[in-house]
Symmetry: C2
Subunit: 156 residues, 2 copies
């Protein structure tokens, strides 16, 4: 979260996923002070989200690494959350479309291994089991969560 | 982004999606100073991510609203990004499982309307068209993006 737990950093990555690579492009897009943009880009490079690519004598370009590109679902999730809650019904806003069909992308949804759509309460965090003599795990090497989401179904 | 563009806020929402509701629970889970937790919760309530539910004389509980619960894909995306890049291969870490199958959930992926998996360069941002006399849109009311991601396929 050090890498991206900041609004500007998320917006920079969003712009980079749209194809921006230059300091001046990010600055124009975001309208952010140079010193803030500079410190955020430096931090993103430090965390391996961007790498600086220099072609000849030109200024460096900020190119997303594999780790940076892997933020795509997160940025899309943020965008879709915004679309869902920050616009009045029918209000026009930017839209993420598939370039082939020219239609809006599907809403991200979390799926189980067998394809069911999962709500928060359909999921659970399991923590790696510590080696304890005599302990038995219910699902192989993963122990049940200490927490129960939403319902007290521990009795079930 | 004002609502959630901050590490603590994201961690609070993450914990709430696992079922935590009380100030003391968030404090124990996150190990964060009371004044910081208090200001972040206040901000999240202000932005409609949480509502405070009071049952009789007990202290209020922080319950996610529909808007707050809709952050689930974003939190999962953040989690999966972390799993992918912050652990050595084979290193044990917490895991999000489907409670029915007791198997890890699928990785979030963005899909087109017809179900193809989409990479960043397969997508494009389109902006609402401004009404201009004589203008024609290529895809109904949405105009093409000014930006081209990654490739200069404008010539295609």
């Amino acid at each position: 979260l050090d890498a991206i737990g900041d609004s500007w950093s998320l917006l920079i990555v969003r712009d980079a996923l749209e194809g921006l690579t230059r300091f001046s492009q990010f600055q124009n897009s975001l309208g952010v002070a140079k010193n803030i943009l500079s410190s955020r880009l430096k931090n993103l490079v430090k965390h391996g989200v961007f790498e600086i690519v220099r072609n000849g004598s030109k200024r460096g370009e900020y190119v997303l690494t594999e780790k940076g590109r892997a933020l795509f679902p997160l940025i899309v999730a943020l965008r879709q959350w915004g679309e869902g809650f920050f616009f009045a019904p029918g209000e026009q806003h930017v839209s993420l479309v598939d370039r082939q069909l020219r239609l809006p992308v599907r809403k991200l949804s979390l799926r189980s291994e067998d394809g069911r759509e999962l709500r928060p309460e359909d999921t659970e965090i399991v923590r790696p089991e510590r080696k304890v003599v005599g302990s038995k795990s219910e699902i192989g090497s993963l122990s049940r969560s200490r927490r129960r989401p939403y319902t007290s179904s521990r009795t079930a």
